[in-house]
C-alpha cells in the first residue's frame, strides 16, 4: 500500500473550481434558506389554515425524505413536467428547500419558548402580530436556537456533496473527475474530505463570529 498525493497537483484548478461552487452554494443557501424558514415559521405560528397546513406538509416531507431524492425529483422531475431547470438551479433550490424546512422547525422551537410576557408587552404597546414577530419575537428566538442553526447549516453544506450526482461542478464532482483521470481515488477523496472538514470548521467560526455581534445582548444578561 502506497499513497501518492503528488498526482493531485495537476488538478489544483479543478479542486479550486469545485471549492468555489460549494462555497457559494452554501452561502446562498444559508441566506435564502433562513429567509424562507422565517416566512414558514411565521405562517405556521399563526392561526391554523390552508397555508399553515401546506407549509407543515412541506416541512414534514422534506425532513422525512433523503436530500438526494429531493434533488433527483427536482432535477429530473421538473423538466418532465415541462419546467426546464439547470443542474445548478436544481441544486440551489433543493438546498434552500432543505435548509428552509429544517430551520423552520428549529426556529419554531425558539418561537414557542418566547415568554408570554413578551407577547403581552408587545400587544399592550399596540404592535400587530407581524410587528411583534419581527421586532420582539424573532431575534431572541434565533439567539436561543443558534447552536442548532449552526449545526444545520453545516449539515446542509456537507450534504451538498450530493449535487455532484447531477453534474454540478462542486468539490465532490472535482474529486470524482480527478479520480477518473488519475485513478487515485483514496488520495483524492482524503484530500477533498479534509477540505470539507476545514469548510465545516470555517463555517462554524463564521457563524459564531456573527452570533457574538448579533446576540450581544446575551452577554452579561440573564434573560
Amino acid at each position: 500500500m502506497t499513497l501518492d498525493f503528488s498526482t493531485l497537483l495537476p488538478y489544483l484548478d479543478e479542486i479550486l473550481e469545485g471549492l468555489v461552487t460549494t462555497v457559494w452554494l452554501t452561502v446562498a443557501t444559508t441566506f435564502v434558506g433562513i429567509a424562507l424558514a422565517i416566512v414558514v415559521a411565521y405562517v405556521r405560528d399563526g392561526a391554523p389554515g390552508i397555508a399553515s397546513s401546506l407549509l407543515g406538509a412541506y416541512v414534514e416531507v422534506t425532513r422525512n425524505t433523503p436530500f438526494i431524492v429531493q434533488l433527483f425529483f427536482l432535477f429530473f422531475g421538473l423538466p418532465a413536467l415541462g419546467v426546464p431547470i439547470s443542474a445548478t438551479v436544481a441544486a440551489l433550490l433543493a438546498m434552500v428547500l432543505n435548509l428552509g424546512a429544517y430551520t423552520a422547525e428549529i426556529l419554531r422551537a425558539g418561537i414557542d419558548s418566547t415568554a408570554r410576557g413578551q407577547h403581552e408587552a408587545a400587544r399592550a404597546l399596540g404592535l400587530s402580530r407581524l410587528q411583534s414577530f419581527r421586532h420582539v419575537v424573532l431575534v431572541p428566538a434565533f439567539s436561543r436556537v443558534y447552536p442548532s442553526l449552526i449545526s444545520q447549516c453545516i449539515i446542509v453544506m456537507l450534504g451538498s456533496a450530493v449535487v455532484s450526482q447531477i453534474s454540478v461542478f462542486d468539490l465532490t464532482y472535482a474529486a470524482n473527475f480527478i479520480q477518473s483521470r488519475n485513478f487515485r481515488g483514496f488520495e483524492v477523496y482524503l484530500v477533498v474530505t479534509l477540505i470539507y472538514l476545514l469548510l465545516a470548521v470555517g463555517l462554524r467560526l463564521g457563524f459564531e463570529f456573527v452570533g457574538r455581534r448579533l446576540f450581544a445582548f446575551r452577554q452579561g444578561g440573564s434573560s
Binding site: 415568554a115 410576557g117 413578551q118 403581552e120 408587552a121 400587544r123 399592550a124 404597546l125 399596540g126 404592535l127 400587530s128 410587528q131 421586532h135 420582539v136 431575534v139 431572541p140 439567539s143 446576540f215 450581544a216 445582548f217 446575551r218 452579561g220 444578561g221 440573564s222 434573560s223
Partner: protein, 242 residues
C-alpha cells in the same frame, strides 16, 4: 364626564366567573389602587382595560370613546392605555432606548429623531437617562421596571395601568419604582394600580377599590377605607396583610 367609564363588566374563564359585573368611573388625574386577595379578579379587570383580556359582557369607555369590543385598534389602544407588568417584560435584545422607542416608531410611525427625543424625556423622568445604551439583562429589577414605565409613557397614553409592578422586586428596589409612580401622580397622570403595597395605596392614591369574588366590594378614599372598613371581608383582608 369621567375619563374612564366601566359598565357592568363580566368575564369568565370556562366555568369560572372571574368578573361578575364591575362598574367603575375614574376621573382624569385620579390615582386608583385596586386591592384584594389573589383570585379576586383584580388583575383580570386591569387586563380588560387594555383588552389583553376580552370581557364577555359590558362596556368600557375612555374619554367618551368606546374602547372595547374591537372599537379601537391595538395601535389606538396603546396610545390611550399604557401598561406596566409585574415581570417588566422588557425586550431583552433591545437596548433601553430601543425598548422605549420601538412602539412610537413602529406603531405610531413617529420619525426616529422625534421618537428619540420623547424617549429621552421619558427616561429622564424615571431617572434612567444614563443607562440609555444598556441591555435589560445588565440592569437591576428596579431599573428594568423604571424603563418599562418609560416605555409605556412614550406612547403618551391617557391612563397608565400598573399590574403589581413591585411584586417581582427585591425589597430594597421597591422604593425607587414607587417613587417614580408618585412623581407621575403628582404630575397629574391617571394611574390605575393593582398593588400589594398598602402603604403606597394609602399615601398616594385618591381612591382605593377593594375587590372580592369578582365584585367591587368596597371603595372609597384610602383614609376611611383602611381605618373604618365597612365590611368584614375588607377588615379581614386588611388584618391579613398587616
Amino acid at each position: 364626564m369621567a375619563l374612564v367609564v366601566v359598565n357592568d363588566l363580566h368575564k369568565s374563564f370556562g366555568d369560572l366567573e372571574v368578573l361578575k359585573g364591575i362598574d367603575l368611573e375614574i376621573e382624569a388625574g385620579e390615582v386608583v389602587s385596586i386591592i384584594g386577595r389573589s383570585g379576586s379578579g383584580k388583575s383580570t379587570f386591569l387586563r380588560c382595560l387594555n383588552q389583553l383580556e376580552h370581557h364577555d359582557w359590558g362596556t368600557i369607555h375612555l374619554a367618551d370613546q368606546r374602547l372595547d369590543g374591537g372599537a379601537m385598534s391595538p395601535g389606538e389602544l396603546s396610545q390611550n392605555v399604557g401598561m406596566v407588568f409585574q415581570s417588566f417584560n422588557l425586550f431583552p435584545h433591545k437596548t433601553v432606548i430601543e425598548n422605549v422607542m420601538l412602539a412610537p416608531v413602529v406603531v405610531k410611525q413617529t420619525p426616529r429623531a422625534e421618537a428619540r427625543q420623547v424617549a429621552e424625556q421619558m427616561l429622564d423622568k424615571v431617572g434612567m437617562l444614563e443607562k440609555i445604551d444598556a441591555y435589560p439583562g445588565q440592569l437591576s429589577g428596579g431599573q428594568q421596571q423604571r424603563v418599562a414605565i418609560a416605555r409605556a409613557l412614550a406612547m403618551q397614553p391617557k391612563v397608565l395601568l400598573c399590574d403589581e409592578v413591585t411584586s417581582a422586586l427585591d425589597p430594597e428596589l421597591v422604593g425607587e419604582v414607587l417613587h417614580v409612580l408618585e412623581s407621575l401622580a403628582a404630575e397629574g397622570m391617571t394611574l390605575i394600580l393593582v398593588t400589594h403595597e398598602m402603604k403606597f395605596a394609602r399615601d398616594v392614591s385618591h381612591r382605593v377599590v377593594f375587590m372580592h369574588h369578582g365584585h367591587i366590594h368596597e371603595a372609597g378614599d384610602p383614609q376611611t377605607l383602611f381605618t373604618q372598613p365597612k365590611t368584614s371581608e375588607l377588615s379581614q383582608f386588611i388584618a391579613s396583610i398587616l
